[in-house]
């Protein structure tokens, strides 16, 4: 399959993520949208990695493997982020009885 289809898919996912993050007020959904964006990037990284594998010279090989390693990094970071983020949301919910992000401007004052 050509690389462009992967790019299109990834872009589509990313845009869905952005629109979701911008428009939804439920913070859990916002979170999921952010995850979606991260995963679209992961998808792109893996796709490019596969593409570079086909080149089979030393340089492209090392690039390809580092891309895949990077994906793991992102997954770990995403996991950490989710765990912290969800904890924050839970705490907020306890305080405000709501998970609407528009209520989260309390830091201002």
């Amino acid at each position: 399959m050509e690389i462009k289809w992967y790019i299109f898919l990834s872009l589509a996912l990313f845009c869905i993520g952005i629109i979701g993050a911008l428009t939804r007020r439920n913070s859990i959904i916002v979170f999921m949208c952010i995850e979606l964006m991260l995963n679209s990037v992961n998808l792109l990284l893996v796709a490019f990695s596969k593409m570079h594998m086909a080149g089979m010279n030393a340089f492209s090989y090392s690039m390809a493997s580092s891309a895949q390693i990077f994906v793991f990094f992102i997954m770990i970071v995403a996991a950490a982020e989710v765990s912290v983020g969800l904890a924050i949301i839970v705490l907020l919910y306890r305080n405000t009885r709501s998970i609407d992000i528009n209520f989260l401007n309390r830091l201002k004052n």
Binding site: I18, L22, R25, V30, N102, N105, K108
Partner: protein, 642 residues
Amino acid sequence: MDAIQLIYLVPLLPLIGCLINGLARNALSKTLVGIIGSAVVFVSFCISVLIFIQVSKEGFVTQNIHYFDFIHVDKLVIPFEFQVDQLTSLFLLIITGVGFLIHVYSISYMKDETQSGFGRYFSYLNLFVFSMLILVLGGNYVIMYIGWEGVGLCSYLLIGFWFKDQANNDAGKKAFIMNRIGDVGFLLAVFWMISAFGTASYARLYNSENGIISSITAINSPAIVGITLLLFVGAIGKSAQIPLYTWLPDAMAGPTPVSALIHAATMVTAGIYMIARSNILYSLAPVTLAGVASIGLITAIVAAIIALKQNDIKKVLAYSTVSQLGYMFLGLGVGAYSAAVFHVMTHAFFKALLFLAAGSVIHAMSGEQDMTKMGGLGKKMKITYATFFIATLAIAGIPPFSGFFSKDEILSATFAQSPVLYVLALGGALLTAFYMFRALAMTFKGKFRGTAEQEHHIHESPATMTVPLVVLAILAAVGGFIGIPEVFVKNANKFDEFLSPVFAHSTAFMGMREVSHQTDLILIIVSSVLVIIVSVWAYNKFKNYAPSTVGADNAFVKAIKNKFYIDEAYYMLFVKPYRALGAFLNNIFDKKGIDGIVNGVGRSVNYGSRQLRLLQSGQVGSYLLLMVIGLLILFIIQLFTK
């Protein structure tokens, strides 16, 4: 013994005297301070005599004594060096000789001062002698400048000696600042000299074999005209010529012996010394010489006119000094360098004498300086009267007193240059005779016009004051005989002969325009007769002076009495705008303008951040939106810049 080797002692001794008197002024008794102060100058005088004897020997060549390098930067070397030649040795004699007499005189004159004031006075006076000696001994223009500013400093300190009265301090400050304006000219001339010729040493510049200036033959080249004009600006400041003369009359605020030493005999003649020293340079710039002559002549006449109506005895003498200095510049300007220096010498004698005699009068009158309150003092102060009379005869130019010979030499050289100048100069000489005899008659003749208490107090001054008067009177009477004109006795002008090596190059270069003996004789007779007539007239007119109450002064007389409003004009033109400018720059330009901009930057940052703060709404959604928009913008930029 080679006296030249001792030359460093000449300035060093007064310096030591200054330090001793200054630092130990509270520990030493007044007598001791006076003795130390005078003795150091006397020893300097003795050494100067030895040097003079050596210099006047046959076959003496100019000597340069190098001590150490004062400034040595790359190619520019300014050594601390002395140069001894005829001109120097002559000035050494005048400074230390007259200086010594005035020191002695001061011991009595200042005896009412406090212990520390007395020490301070002698310390300053010694410092002055030191500076003046450095000025004439220096072997290059920078060393001359050291002395040049040094005498300015001492003048400042001594004019403001009684510093509790702010008027004295104002006078001192004025003297210093006006001198400084001249000094700027001097300094710029030195810079120009250094950049044009690479040196400021007389030996390198004026050496008769291969001197840089001596080998120039082009006349009126821009650099030389510039340098000479700037040097002349320095001379104008120091020697109180128009337009920088107004400080000298004010300088009379100082003690009278100071006026005699600094503001008559020595410091103010520094300008003449400097131009005489640079005669080779000036001879190459006839344009400047014409300027020197004109300024000198104008000053001579204007100051003499102002002196006609002054009632303060010291002010009369001050304007007279300004006027006589004008004559010296006239002499220099017409190329009669030797005559000008001769007049410096005779002037030192009779003007110092006039001041000291005036001091004796003021002393007797308990500080009164107004001549309208004097009169008839001749009877009670015989020695003072006699000496003052001799000095008046000398300054008026009545033969055979010293002033006659020197003034005649200048006048005759002026005639050779231009008869018009001669007539004007003669007119000035007549004015001189008039105001001097007026002062003489008002002070010593007629009835006493002061208070009874003052009259009771009048007495002849003590010997320490009268002896210097007598010595100076002898010099003022006979001092002229070393420069008898050719007309009377052949080869009798020993003075010109003595100085001729200094001016030899200029004389050869310019050629001497001399009047024939016959014309000279006629001139002498005419001028002498006129002077005598004017003198007698003035003497008779003011013999029985009584202050008149009737009749308002006409505008011209009023202008003369107010010294042509020059001081007021300077105040309005320079001092006031300077102060106003300072206030404007401080209050408006700096605070509102420059600092306003600086603070404005701070304020606009403050304002800007207050506005930008509003973007921080706290809405997570809007942050995200902004972030996305920012990313998009970056992408777009990326697309278009590739």
